[in-house]
Structure formats: C-alpha cells, structure tokens
Subunit: 346 residues, 4 copies
C-alpha cells in the first residue's frame, strides 16, 4: 500500500510508479478515499528492491503493510484519516438521515414525489427507493426499471441525492448510467463476492457511495468488513456498513434487531455505520425505538422507510414505513442521542 | 379474579368471600399489587352461582376472567393500574438505577463499602451484589453466605435498598430473614417453576420485589411473562423483568445483546423492564452504549455492574464493571434518553 | 481422586483414609461407578504430605489429578473403565431402548398398562412415563402424584424398570421412596445446579441411574458434561446424557434436531448418550428417521414416546408418540445401524 | 402449466400452442424433466378462452394450476412422476455417491488424478472438485481456471461425470463450454436469484444437473424450494438439493449439522436430497457418522470430500477430507442404511 505525500498522485507520478512495479510483475490499483488516495500494489508486494525504489521517490510518504486481514477497511489504515461527505453531511461530524419507500410503485409516481418532498421537509438528507427487489419466489413482483425514472425525477424535484439497490451487473450498469448517488447491496448479496468486486471496479475513482447491508442472516463483524474490503480493494472505499437485523428472528420482530453490532464494527473500522431500523424490527411502531437505539450504540446515521401514506405503499411499506411526521421527530431526537453518545466514543 | 371496590379487602371481607368460594371447593389467593389488591379464585372458578354470590357483595367491584394466558401480568389486568415504587422511584414516572459488584468478595469488605458509597454519590437508587453464584463447574467458587453480611452492612451505611440473587429455597429463606429488598432470579433459573412459585409464596403480601432475568438463552417474550405469572399467581406481583443478552452470542460480545426485547415486553405487560447491559455485552467499554440503547428501546431502568476498582474485583467485575465516574455520566444521559423516548410510548 | 487397588474400599480402609485427610481439613466423597469406586478428596487436595501418606497405603493404587474441568466425567477418568448395566443391557455392548407415554393420564390407567405390555413385547428394556410436567403456564396441568402409582404398577406387571422426571426436591424424595430406577432431569432443569447436586447426594452409592437431558435450548457439549459433573461429584456417576433438540427450532420440527451432538459428547466423556427423537422432531412420522440417525451418530440407545393409541394420549403423545408396531421395527433397525456404526468408533 | 399427452411436444405442436397463447400476450417456457416435459405459460395464465383453446388440442392432457408457491418443485407437480438418472444411478432407486477434493490444486494435478482413480475404485459414481472458491477475504486464493483442465482430464481418465461450483456468469459460461455434468451453487449464492435464473436459462433443455446447496446460514425448507423454483422456472428441473450445515455452529463442528432437514424437504418436494457431511461437520473423523445419519434421515445420496492424501490437500481437505479406504466402507454402510430407511418412507 503506497501512501503518497500529496493527497493524490499526478498522472505522471502514477505512471512512474507503475513502471517500477511493472518490472516486478506487479500492478497499481488507485483507491480514492474521501480526502486521501492510496495506491495498492497488486501482485507479490514484498520485493524489497521494489519497495525501496518506490520509497526513494520524493512524493512517496510510506509503503505500508498493515497486519490486518482488512488492509483497507481497518481503522489503522490510511483511509481512516478522511471523512466521507455525503449530501452535505460529513460523516462523524453529524448524523446522516436517508429515507424513502421500500419499493417505488411504478403505477403511482405521485405517491413517491409527495413522499420525497415531505421527507426533504422533515430534514432527511437523501432519498431511498427500491426499483428492483430480491424476492423469495420467482413469481413475485421483481421490480421494474420504470421505477428508476421516478426516483430520478424525485431527485430532480427535491435536489436530494438518491440511493437504490442493485442485484446484478445489468442493474448496476443501468444505475451508473443515470448517476445514482449511492448503490445499495442487500443482505442476500452481501457475500456475493463477484458482484462486490464488480461494483468496486466500475465505481473506482468516482464519488459514488456504496451502502453495504450486513450479510443475511448473521454475518460476523469480521465478515462484514471482509465483504467491504472486496469493494475497496477494487477501487472504491466510499462504503457505509448497514446492520439490518439477523435471523433467527425474535418473536414479534421481523428479524433479531442488531443495532448493537454498530459498536463492534466501529471498533474495527473507520467506515461509517448506518442502521436500518425498518428491516430490523419490521413494524412502524417499533422503528423509533430501534432508530434511537442505533444512535445510542454509536451509529453515524439512519436509513429508514418512510411513506406519505403507508397503507397505500407496496412491498414492506404498509407494515413498516413511518410517516414524515414521525420522521421529523425522529431526526430531531436521533440527533440529540447522537450528540450524547459522543462522550463515550473512544 | 375478584376486584374489590376498596384497594384492599378487610380481614372480615376476605373471610366472607373465602367462606362462599369454599362451598364450591375453591380457595382465595390475595395478590397485593402496588396500589391495588386483587383476589384470585383457585380451583374451578367458573361456577356461575358462586360468581353471582360474590358479585352480590357490596364491596366487590367485578369478577374478571381475562382472556389472556397471563391473567395477572397482561397489561389489561387490574394490576396494571398501580405503579410500583422502589427506593423512592415510582416506575414509569422516572428511571430506576441499580448498581453494584457482580460478586461480593468476602475477603475484601471495604472494596464493597467504598463502591457502595461511590454508587450512591453517582446517583443510583439501589445496590446490587452477588452473594452466591451459579457456576458452570461444581469446583468453581460458588459464593459464600458471609458476603451477605457485607451487603447488609452496605445497606446500613448508605441507606440504599439491596438486591441479590438466590438459586434455591435455602438461600431464599436466608435472604428473606434479613429483609433483602429485591430478590433476583438469574437466567438459568428463570424457567425453574418450583422456585418461582416458592418465591411468590414466601413473599406474598410483602413489599419484596423480584427481578426476573430473561430465561437463558433465548426465552420468547411470552415465556418471560409466563414465568412472571408463576410468581404473581403465588401472591407477589412486584416483579421487574430483565433482559440480559441471549445465546448464540454475537462475536465480540458476551451474549447477543437483547435490549430490543424491551419494546415487545412492554407491549404485552404492565410490568417494568430493567435492562442489564453488563451481562448483555460483557465488556465495560460497551456498557454505556447498551445502557443508552435500553432506554431508547423503552426500558424503565438499568441494573449495571459498577466497581470502585474493577481490576481488583472478582467474578465478572474485572471485565465488565464500569467505574462510578462512568456511572454518573450514564445516569445523567440515560435519564435524558428516557425522557426523549416518552414521546414514542403508546 | 483416590483410585484404590480393589474395586471398592472396605469400611476400615475408608475410615483410615478419612482420618489421614481429616488432619489436613479434607473429607472423602466415595463415587461408586459401575465397576469401580473412586474416592474424591474434598477440600484442598494438593497437600503433598497428605497425598504421600495416602499413596503409602498398600490398598491405594494412585492419586489422580486429571487436568480436565470434568475430573469425573472426562473419558480419561478412572470411571471410564466400567460399563453401566441397566435393565440387563450393558451399555456400549448393546443398545438400550426406553419407551413410554409422555404423560401418564391418571384417569386412564389401563391405557398405560396396555402400552407397557406392548412396549415390552416390542423389545424395549425400560418404561418411561411423565408424572409431573414442567409447564410454561402456571395454570396448565402440572401432573399428579397419582400417576406415579400407575407407573409403579406397570413396573410390577411387566417387570421392566422405570424412568420418570423430577423437578424439585419434594418430587425427588417421593420417587426415591418408591425405588424409581432412573430419574430424569429435563431440559429446563439441566443447569439447575442445586437440584443436580441434591440428586447426586441422595442417590450416592445406589444403583439409581440419572438421565440428564441437554440443557435448553442449546447447551454446549462442555456445559452438558459440567452439569453431569455436579451429579457425579456429589456421589452418583450412573449418568446417561440425552440430547433432545435445541432452539431456535427448524421450521417444521418441534426443535432443531441435535442427534449430531452425540459424536461430540462421546469424544469427551465415557458416559453413554441416549437420544430422544420424540422431543427433537415432535411428530411421530419423523421419529424413526431421527432415531436411526441418532444411532448413526453413535448413540448408545433411544428413549422414545410410544403409546398404544396416540390419539387418546395426553401431553405430547397425540402428536409425537409412535405405536408399538413402529417401535418394534425401530428397535430392530436401530440395532442394525448401531452395529454398522461400531466400525467408525475411535 | 400445460401437461401434454406425449412425454414431449413436437416442434409443430409447440409452435401451435405458442401461437395461441401469443394472442393473449403470453409465452411458453418448456421445462424438460427426467421423463416428462411440461410447458409453463408465462404471462397472465388465467385467460379462460386461452386455456380452453389449449385444452381443445388433442395432444394436450391437462392445464394445471397447482395451488403451491412451488408450482414446479412441489411433490404434487407433474415433474414428480419422473426419476432423474445421473451417472447411471436412478435417484430414488439407489443412492448416489459423489466424492472428490474440496479444491483442486493446480500445482499438483497428479494428486487429483490419483484421488479420482481411487474414488472410482471405492465405488463412487461422480467426481467433485473445486475450481474457483468463494473466499471471505479478497486476498485469499480464489481458485484458478487451470484447475478445470485437471477436472476435465480426470473425467477423461476415469469416465466419471464431474461436478464443480460456479459463482458468476463468467464461470458458468466456461463450465458449460466444457460440458461439466453437474453445476454446483454454493451456500453463499443459494439465494442469488439472478444467478439461479441464469443457470436455469442456459441449461434449459439440457441434461446438465444442478446441485443447489442450502442457503447460508439457515435457509428454511421453503426458501430452499423457492430458490430451486427459480432454476426450474427458467427451464431446468434437474435439481438436487443439498443441506450442508447451518450457522450458528455447534461448538466442535464447523457448522450445526443439518442432515435432519432432509425429511422436511422430501415431504414437500419430489427433488432428490444429497447430504454434504464434509461441510456440516468439518472434520474427517465426524464425516462417517454424519453421512450415515443423512441416509437415516432419508437422503438420496452423499457428496463428500475425499483425498488420496488429505494432509497434502489445499482448501478444506487437510481437515475434512476422508480417505478412499473410509469412502469404500462408507458407501457400503450408507447403502445398507439407505435400504433400511425405505421402510419408513411415506
């Protein structure tokens, strides 16, 4: 891992390094962090002569070999020094709030537009909306690309950046074409390594963020970080981790709420953790408690399902979407808990 | 279930009722709640003539037959109307804080006395301290009755009421003899029905409270209430429920934190829920997050392991006890979260 | 742990040893195994002079200090040398089959007598029948001592030894008074250490066996052995371990079948393992598969619910009891699998 | 679902049906089962006129609308009538044995060739070998296409058909190009619906079988069938289901062995179930018990890791591969248990 003195290497500097490591059969993968770029050496990175020649370049600060299975995601990595800024919020300095429908109903675009306006007014920073859905049965509604147009239009109308889930490369290409701001990887694909790597590759060097859900149903903290490492090592470290409940469920909840994993993740990584209370508890009435608890456990933000009229939603919205009025309260109170919690950060 | 018009029946009234139901082969079990006493009919309580004769008494308000497996613990039960007051705190009106050593070291009484003073100063309302310990191995230290004297002396010195765990009838008799204020039933005994019934019987009509831990390792909300029902049906409804983490653990924590069950329990029962972050997370550094989260999920209080010098503690204290300084912050911040949370109570 | 040269010390020899260790503040607990008795030193057993004086006695073979948390239950313990013989079956040399009702219906004694005769004819070695039942709700049927008379009468009629569950000391005393051959400790009490110790004490030196279920819901192999160690250390090593399914259940079964733990237990302990397919799967149609699988995983026998007329049973029998005709097949086929499995024993 | 009178429609018949349903905006997806082909109507299949016109064709037997979420995989589906024959074994008539390395070492082709010969001699019907591996860390060995050449060469030498895992479309295309006989979908991808659908599409109408592992870590029986339905609905019903252990693990095993799910799966589906004892227990010494247990629970076969010299294997082989000598015993004894078990099939 090459750490340059400037935040980023110039093209000429990069070319010089590439030519050196090329002599030893290695390649360079730039990894563009929030404030720092670092340069991974792919191949056998332990050639002493190679390292010494790179170290001899006056714009190179260090060549690190972190003793961690998560060379990039580890909190001791150089990437830890920079703070990601999304939708005007610098993570770690203020909490981030993302809200929207579980599933965008292509037959009712106005419902989404109205929710989007209300969500913006309630104080959220970003819009979420499901376009395609991973469904247990092949005969269930699998989503519809036309919903993406609605999401894009809502961004246009509100000015809020947008987030949606992709499940394969075809969907990934479509959302990137339209400049979706944050790509979501769901719990079922959280250990789909070829997809993670591909996402990292096609968004390398871009501002696109990736919201990586916790693997279903009970990925260990280490597995979450290892999955993130796949994306980062392919070039994009703009990753947010997202617990969303585990199996076996707790009777009465949709899953076993796991907001508590936030503390464990943040002890190991510099990456931000955003909790998803909607999926963890699965019922609107329980969402505020889980959201506030996420903040108490140290989360950097919340992604929540919110609908102007939950009863007319599709997907999970009738059961688990909160209203914009509750969202407004929740943003205020979550921010207060977020502040209280700072005292206990290490 | 006979609900009298006065808060409590007089001896003469009780005798009159007993004589009526006796004719039908039934008996009466008084259950003395915080503000209300109710009177369970033991035996076949469905004799219409018997019910009508009892209803005819002018000091009887109603004879209820709640359609709930938890006739007493259900939030629709008559007992729901009264609020338990412990250590000057009326539960539901303000949060309750209990703190102390995991295990009292009989060789170092002063350590406990000093912790007790510091805990009082930090703002806690009640002292906890382990006298006997359920241990996985028969050859491990099983506790020592001499530790009870230390706990009693600490009550004397600080004026704080005290809580300790019992595991069998012999220990139960000892603590009652000394007027221990709150009896704790641990996770391993939380489904030990003969012990629960016995506790209910010997504390019936008294002010003694019972802190009932969630059954190990993953008792469902309904099982927790059913276990409490054993105690209440035997005469003592002064019960607090206490989640303390479940198995399988989450890697990095001692258990799988389950503060989240609080919302589910409180939806079903009028009983208060006190979270035990020390056992759920098992490491001092994680305790504040879990305690605040408990409040966010709707808990009525916290029982936490706190030691003036954790490194010199025994049992779990070296790993999981927080210091009185942290306790002080935590009481303040937990109270703030407790207040924020009220907005979302139903 | 004193290992004498003879199988058992004479009274005079025991008295001599007791007098020696008494000088060092220790006591002796005889532990009467199937073919060997060993003598635990209670107190600080590490006095070198004491050990040397005991070793000097010509009827003492060794003084062992096994480096295992399960000094008695470990497969390296001296107790491993003896094989328990129950109902004429020497465990390890042939499989043991126990069958009977989940719950004996005190209103229909003949049903149990007929089942008992049929079970004997099907080839089972021992009768089981529930007298008292641990019930989730205090208002459910909790069993009835009169059922014990039926069980005793069935023993009289068939000549088969009997097994029943106890939940507290009062029940324990009753069954011992009547010479019940095998005492069962259920899953809810499997970590109730005071009860385990008490059972060991009152059956010390007797032929009474103890069937110890796996702790609910997911006691680790080590916890099972530690629980058994409580009974053995109190004087009775005639213990059989019994997996019975764990929580969280597998959808479609009553529990998560855990016949597979047999291999892990037998690797660590000399004690026999008897599987309980009825509780693990919870439906009669699934029982044969689970029983045969238990044998495949290395079990020494099966305890199974069997009823002459399951539809007229009480407790779990209508759902999970097999008929005597199935039992007959199962005994034959289980014995065949038991034999095949020997090849893979280490 | 159109069930024709002949086993398969002629091209002209298919064209005629396609033209009818085309008028109603529907399409036809042929699904070629082992002995029967059925024809799914894609689109809104409930047009009464359309159904009546199709029913009027003299080569159409029925138009079924199974009331099951698994229209194709349900045991009541028309596909249930045919038995899959693989490697000369007709499933359901005799058990199928698949064995091979966890991971083929591209640096030691001879090890694999020797294992393959020994596996054939031991009596197995099919060879397995890992070419690419899903690895938790991006920096771990991810497999190598050159290993595929070794697998193909082993097929050439032994005449045994071959099985290997694919994780994405690129790998899928490669293995199909070389006519791999059975494609494996691993536990991490078992709910990767786009991949499952793609596999079904590209193998539709072919003889290629798909070994679908149980989703990690604890997919319910229904989820396993729903995943299989994705493959079948895309055109390939030659699917074998494969339990392989779940999380949370049982201490001492690699996973929580789940051979027991076999009974539940077979009750719902006509598809065969092959158990994978190597991954469920994770240690060679435990494999025979788990394999025999799988047969006891009703499995149709076993896929097991076997290596001529486990200590020189890579991947999981050093820990969990059995030797060909054990494999030989196991095939013999598993076949015996398979036979005993038939008596209890419903």
């Amino acid at each position: 891992m090459i750490i340059p003195k400037p935040n980023k290497l110039s093209d000429a500097q990069l070319a010089e390094i590439e030519s050196i490591v090329g002599e030893f059969g290695c390649r360079i993968q730039p990894i563009v962090g929030a404030e720092r770029s670092i340069y991974a050496i792919l191949g056998d990175e332990r050639h002493e002569t190679m390292i010494n020649r790179v170290l001899g370049l006056d714009y190179v600060d260090r060549v690190d070999q972190i003793d961690s299975p998560y060379r990039l995601m580890d909190r001791r990595s150089e990437l830890a020094s920079g703070k990601l800024t999304l939708a005007g919020v610098t993570l770690g300095h203020a909490p981030l709030f993302i809200a929207g429908h579980c599933t965008i109903d292509p037959k009712n675009p106005n419902l989404f537009y109205e929710s989007a306006e209300a969500i913006k007014k309630a104080g959220a920073h970003m819009l979420r909306g499901g376009v395609w859905k991973p469904r247990t049965m092949p005969y269930s509604y699998q989503g519809d690309s036309s919903a993406l147009d609605i999401l894009l239009e809502a961004r246009e109308r509100t000015g809020l950046p947008i987030n949606t889930e992709v499940m394969d490369e075809a969907q990934l290409n479509i959302v990137l074409e339209h400049g979706v701001d944050m790509i979501q990887v769901g719990a079922r694909n959280a250990l789909n390594y070829p997809l993670l790597r591909r996402i990292g590759e096609v968004t390398a060097g871009s501002k696109t963020a990736v919201l990586l859900k916790r693997g279903r149903p009970m990925a260990a903290p280490e597995e979450c970080l290892a999955a993130a490492e796949y994306i980062a090592a392919a070039g994009n470290p703009n990753i947010l981790l997202c617990p969303r409940g585990t199996l076996p469920q707790m009777d009465g909840y949709r899953n076993h709420p796991d907001e508590c994993i936030t503390q464990l993740l943040k002890e190991k990584t510099w990456a931000s953790v955003i909790v998803d209370p909607s999926h963890s508890v699965g019922r609107a009435g329980y969402v505020p408690g889980a959201a506030l608890a996420g903040m108490a456990y140290g989360a950097d933000g919340i992604v929540v399902e919110c609908h102007i009229d939950p009863g007319h939603g599709i997907g999970d919205d009738p059961k688990q979407a909160i209203t914009p009025a509750i969202l407004k309260d929740l943003i205020e109170d979550s921010s207060a808990v977020w502040k209280l919690r700072r005292k206990y950060e290490r």
